[in-house]
Amino acid sequence: MAIFLQQLINGIAQGGMYALIALGYTMVYGIVELINFAHGDVFTLGSFLCIAILALLGVSASGQIIAGWQGALIALLVVVLAALLCGVIGVLIERFAYRRLRNAPRLAPLITAIGVSFLLQGVMRNWKGPSEISFPQFLPNPTFAFGGVHIDLRELLVVIVSILMMVALQFFIYNTKLGKAMRASAQDRDAASLMGINVNTTIAWTFFIGSALAGVAGFISGMYFGTTMFTNGYQAGLKAFTAAVLGGIGNIAGAMLGGFLIGIVEAMTAQYISDQWTNVVVFSILVLILVLRPSGLLGEQLPEKV
């Protein structure tokens, strides 16, 4: 039982990671119906930027621990800066790589997204080299044990941040004017502009928020794993994207649910089957769920009305 609970915690922590990235995916997808393949790389870039910002602040990978409010302050500063930078980068990507293609055939922006993904990977590769790079572990990481089960601060952080982000995003999309503008732009851009919505600005905001979330995820992931690498965004992005689809693309809570589900399935597979089958099991469950619910777990299924 303890082992099951422990794996559940492992799964939820890893799932929270996926969920955080998935939120950005689902957000962008929900608004522009684009599988933003570059999103995973923006996430990795977020980690890279955090490392650079920490270096500027004099925090290096040497393993020094900065406890108390100072550590918290630094963490906050780094997260905010990384989120802002990633947000801006997201906006730039949209402006230069996607905007021109809004009315192009659907697959054209998909291919530019893949191109941008390669481009970002190339930039990161040349910036920090081709191997794993260390992420400074400057926060203390106390462990809390309950019975045979333990959870540490980093794991708590992942879960709490991802849930907070989801709630905030959900509130934002459904209860603010900009959120409504986003949903309207998602469904019919021309009609949205006829409502007085500035579609370009709205989409730019979407990318800003989605990419800023990737920046936050980049920080959390760096703290959690302690390393990062220029190709990390690929695998993480893939899983996050799967999470988003599993939950129902465009659905914020769904992305969250999908992320946790995948994380838990991975952990349970590693425990009760074998680590090498995790991807097979995850994707098989994905297929199964989509066969039963073609619009994902929480995705709304609009009946065809003709």
């Binding site: 021309d190 006829l194 409502m195 919505i197 370009n200 609009l302």
Partner: protein
């Protein structure tokens, strides 16, 4: 009376296809202007050009003295030029209520939105019954009502209507034309596109006839109703 909205020599292209070949028209304060013409004449394109959804390649569009030729669609809406577009274009995955709320998106006065919504429901009781149904599952006519209601929610300074009676039952067609007259009585000028040219010219003060991107006739509604060519081509009389 001076023109509120005026188009001078407007030309619009879709790629290499020229849809408008130099359109000049005016809508003056407080009047209903009908725009009639056959399929593909360029009526819709004219409205899309005014709203900034497509760009005029040549010519000038002014509203209340301001040049809006190069303004963005959302700016144009904020100035009070509101359109109920062809094909309804309602937000499919949003409820009737949300659609109406979005109609009021550009309005600064948030307070009176509720009241206006009640007015719309009074106009189209059917919408009230369907208020939390998703737009995409409404019947064709219900969607049309929603599109018009949504435009009214913006409290337009000028209203552009693209075939508002399309797909409506005979009773509702009557209602719609009453609504159009009502709105106009409150001082809102209206540019109206209708296939039902007779009805349109009956409520309108003036009209323009569009053929293949050019205005071939203009005049008072009464003159046009009496015009032989118009009667033959658009009123279906022999």
């Amino acid at each position: 009376m001076s023109a509120v909205l005026s188009l001078v020599g407007v030309e619009t292209f879709y790629g290499r296809i020229q849809a408008l070949r130099g359109i000049s028209l005016d809508v003056r304060a407080g009047e209903i202007v009908a725009l009639i013409g056959g399929n593909g004449a360029g009526k819709t394109t004219t409205l899309r050009t005014i709203s900034g959804l497509v760009r005029a390649a040549h010519g000038r569009i002014t509203f209340a003295g301001d040049d809006i030729t190069h303004a963005m669609p959302d700016q144009i809406v904020r100035m009070g030029i509101v359109q109920a577009p062809e094909g309804r274009r309602i937000f499919q995955r949003m409820t009737v209520l949300e659609n109406l709320e979005l109609g009021a998106y550009a309005r600064a006065d948030g307070r009176s939105v509720r009241g206006d919504m009640d007015d719309v429901f009074a106009l189209f009781p059917r919408l009230a019954e369907r208020r939390s149904q998703k737009g995409g599952t409404l019947s064709g006519g219900e969607q049309q009502m929603l599109a018009i209601g949504r435009a009214l929610m913006a409290r337009p300074k000028i209203l552009l209507l693209d075939e508002p009676s399309l797909g409506l039952s005979p009773i509702l067609v009557e209602t719609i034309f009453h609504v159009i007259a009502d709105i106009n009585k409150r001082g809102v000028p209206i540019l109206l596109i209708e296939q039902n040219a007779r009805k349109a010219l009956q409520v309108a003060a003036r009209g323009y006839v569009l053929e293949t991107g050019t205005i071939v006739k203009e005049g008072t509604a009464a003159d046009l109703l009496a015009d032989d060519d118009v009667r033959k081509a658009y009123l279906g009389e022999d």
